[in-house]
């Protein structure tokens, strides 16, 4: 028997063993694959798309994909490495004639397979039960970003696995994993967290991967791709380097031959080490500072009306469009008292539905007597939201710089950056309604602010500068309406922008 085995056999053999090992460890495999989908069903579907909040459904898909990416990296590398290090398995493996790095390659492939399983399951659930509209290209990109995105978590996991004892590792990693997921906005959107926590979010690697993940499904991303890549690459390099050093000090080299501890190359290697550390820290700092989130809406309550900002910022506020014209110095944009639904400028208010986008929602609006306070009239909007498309909407819209002779895409912008608050009175059938501000990027999800309209008139006050992502210099459309399927009826009065 003189058949020579190839290195490929050795690599494949190691991958098979690593994968089998993890699949046979239910304490690892089950939470890793099932938890992201479970959380998604809860936050993304029950609290999101099922309540008509499509934006939440999309956000949750991108966020839980990242949540599913963290565990195989952190636990797969961290806990397993710590235990096998203590059990002498790493030392034993090191003395075997395995090709260099086979062990690391096998671990990495295993982590990526687990990420694949959790991401694909998530995409399946999101597009079926969650009814999130996802093109194959978006799905593929989301999948790819997360499979590669496991690397920074694998590096952090390796460092912890090289440092902590086998018994302590699971606790330590959980104490990093769960808070990091929360503080990176993976469970609930960052807007719902206190401002202080929002500001430090870019310090977490999961935040950066989450932003990239958002971008792949065309949900709004904070910061730029470059920022996030820099932070993630920096974290990967730094922690991988620290982990290898740590293991090296313990006499373990995962890359085959360990270099002699004595020798003339020592100063050179030290200089190289310092260089790697500095460059990776530099990348992280650049990424973290650049990835700083713009301010987001804080939950604002007006005179009794319950409103919550669920805005997610638009990708790039300077999307090449010229700033809008300065808004006329008239705060009221809808009094509905003079027998007309017209504002002092622009087009509107006029009823809008989603039929142009292929939907089947219907809407009608008419003026009614007896507005909020003592005012003469108000605008009543009613209709029914259909379910033919993923983001149904019907309501009434105002185009501040609108021109009836132009198509929707050609409509101009209005610069409201000098104004602070958009307010109006509303009452209705008790359902949840949404104020939307739309900027230059027509396909992007508009900035939204939801409120409940009960039987009594209540004022809704929206602090414009605390709404994340909205480009106040370029407002094209202001809409008030609803996305929740079923019949609806509400009245609106005294719309002002001060």
């Amino acid at each position: 028997m003189t058949r020579g085995r190839s290195a490929a056999d050795a690599y494949l053999g190691d991958i098979k063993v690593e994968l089998t090992k993890m699949l046979r460890t239910p304490a690892f495999a089950v939470p890793t694959i099932v938890f992201p989908v479970m959380f998604y069903l809860l936050f993304g579907v029950l609290l999101g798309t099922a309540r008509g909040n499509m934006q939440m459904g999309l956000y949750a898909l991108a966020a839980y994909a990242v949540f599913g990416t963290m565990a195989p990296g952190l636990f797969g590398f961290g806990v397993t490495l710590a235990m096998e290090r203590e059990q002498g398995l790493l030392t034993f493996r090191q003395a075997l004639p395995a090709p260099p790095g086979a062990f690391l390659v096998a671990r990495m492939v295993t982590a990526m397979v687990f990420v694949s399983l959790s991401t694909l399951l998530l995409i399946l659930v999101a597009t079926t039960i969650g009814k999130v509209p996802l093109t194959p290209a978006q799905g593929l990109l989301l999948y790819f970003v997360n499979v590669v995105g496991v690397l920074p978590f694998a590096a952090v996991g390796m460092f912890l696995g090289a440092t902590a004892s086998g018994n302590a590792a699971p606790a330590i990693i959980n104490m990093i994993y769960l808070p990091m997921a929360f503080l990176s906005g993976l469970w609930v959107p960052l807007q719902f967290l206190p401002k202080m926590l929002q500001d430090v979010a870019p310090a977490w690697p999961a935040y950066h991967l989450a932003q990239l993940s958002m971008h792949t499904v065309d949900a709004p991303m904070m910061g730029t791709i470059g920022n996030h890549l820099a932070a993630l690459v920096g974290v990967t390099v730094l922690f991988f380097f620290l982990a290898m050093r740590r293991l090296g000090n313990r006499g373990i080299s995962l890359f085959g031959p360990a270099r002699s501890s004595a020798g003339s190359a020592r100063p050179l290697r030290q200089a190289l080490s310092i260089g790697i550390v500095f460059i990776s820290i530099g990348l992280i700092i650049a990424g973290v500072l650049g990835g700083q989130a713009p301010r987001k809406a804080a939950a604002a309550t007006s005179d009794g009306a319950q409103g919550s900002g669920s805005a997610t910022p638009v990708a790039d506020s300077d999307s090449g469009a010229p700033p809008g014209v300065a808004a006329p110095d008239v705060p009221v944009i809808g009094s509905f008292d003079d027998g007309s639904a017209k504002a002092g400028y622009g087009i509107g208010w006029s009823a809008v539905d989603d039929k142009m986008r292929g939907g089947n929602s219907s809407v009608a609006q008419h003026l009614v007597a007896g507005g909020a306070g003592e005012s003469a009239g108000a605008l009543e909007v009613s209709g029914e939201i259909g379910t033919a498309i993923q983001y149904p909407f019907a309501g009434t819209s105002f185009l501040p710089n609108g021109d009836a002779a132009k198509s929707f895409a050609e409509q101009g912008f209005m610069d409201y950056s000098a104004r602070k608050t958009l307010s109006f009175f509303a009452r209705g059938d008790g359902r949840t309604y949404t104020l939307m501000l739309m900027g230059p990027v027509v396909d992007a999800i508009p900035t939204m602010y939801t409120f409940d309209a009960g039987p009594e008139w209540q004022q809704v006050r929206v602090p414009l500068h605390e709404l994340g992502g909205v480009d106040l210099k370029r407002i094209k459309v202001i809409s008030i309406g609803t996305m929740t399927p079923g019949p609806f009826r509400f009245q609106v009065d005294d719309v002002r922008i001060d």
């Binding site: 050795a10 059990q87 398995l89 034993f92 090191q94 003395a95 075997l96 004639p97 006499g251 031959p257």
Partner: protein, 303 residues
């Protein structure tokens, strides 16, 4: 490096902090031999082995495996190893573990051969974590030999084995040597070295303090055990200068001495009734104790 030398350490020094684990160690492993490496805890056996395996680098001196760096994959493909404290993944089955390690070698044994050599056929598909301590050692041994190695490193291979399994493993080792495989073995069981080794190297304080065949090592030691039945009182015998140690067990007395002939003359002269006399040369255990004790007292050579 000659053709017959498979592994060697030349004047190897290794310090851990203030402690010199190896202090100018010279050691060679020759083709076809079973070398038993003996020594008390802290003598440097494990350090010597881990340098030969390329797990550690000497501070000074040279380590070679098949004339190459011990860390080269080519050299490692010619050796098999069994370490003392290794927990293999408990969810994996012996067959899977053996297949994984076999993949690293250019010309491994096929699976049925490995399983048969270690009588593992019945256990091959049981999770490793469910095996007994002895069965686990058998699997580890299978991993050591599955690559058809020319040189085997075995660190305390029979710890935790029952008598029967130990005898079986010894037989496998003898067969391997017969087939031309060389073996380096560290052990606490002196009878293991006596039963298997062609050559013994005794280590103390990071150096080899004695080496040779089992008989040669024994010959290093001048002590003999003289046992007999007599009515002579203990005080009389203990007063004789030849007597190092006296003991009695179920009516039979035993004296440890360096000069058995002189002692016998005195005994016969003092007690005409002396009976059941037996003179026995020291076993490896006594030799080992004496060699390392004299090394401890600063004298590199046994008395």
């Amino acid at each position: 490096m000659s053709q017959s030398t498979l592994a060697r350490l030349d004047d190897v020094h290794k310090r851990f902090g203030k402690i010199a684990a190896l202090d100018g160690l010279d050691l060679t492993v020759n083709r076809g031999e079973l070398l038993a490496l003996l020594g008390p805890n802290g003598a440097g056996k494990s350090t010597a082995i881990s340098i030969l395996l390329g797990l550690q680098r000497p501070d000074r001196g040279m380590a070679g495996l098949f004339g190459e760096d011990p860390q080269s994959v080519e050299a490692r493909q010619r050796i098999g190893i069994m370490m003392q404290e290794v927990n293999l993944p408990s969810v994996m089955r012996p067959r899977e573990l053996i297949r994984q390690v076999s993949n690293y070698y250019p010309n491994p044994y096929d699976m049925p051969t490995v399983l048969e050599k270690l009588s593992l056929q019945q256990l091959a598909d049981r999770p490793y974590g469910k095996l007994s301590g002895g069965q686990k050692r058998q699997v580890q041994f299978a991993l050591a030999i599955c690559g058809r190695p020319e040189l085997l490193f075995l660190d305390e291979p029979t710890v935790g084995l029952d008598l029967k399994s130990r005898e079986e493993l010894w037989q496998v080792l003898r067969d391997l040597v017969h087939e031309g495989c060389s073996i380096v073995l560290t052990t606490h069981y002196l009878e293991e070295a006596e039963a298997l080794a062609n050559r013994v190297a005794v280590m103390a304080h990071g150096r080899v303090v004695a080496q040779g065949s089992v008989d040669e090592i024994r010959a290093h030691v001048s002590r003999k055990n003289v046992s007999y039945r007599s009515t002579l009182p203990r005080q009389t015998i203990e007063a004789w200068p030849e007597v190092l140690q006296w003991s009695e067990q179920s009516g039979r007395q035993q004296v440890v001495t360096r000069d058995a002939e002189a002692l016998l003359r005195r005994l016969l002269a003092a007690d005409a009734e002396l009976s059941d006399v037996e003179v026995r040369r020291a076993g490896l255990a006594e030799a080992f104790a004496e060699i390392t004790a004299s090394a401890q007292s600063g004298n590199g050579k046994p008395s």
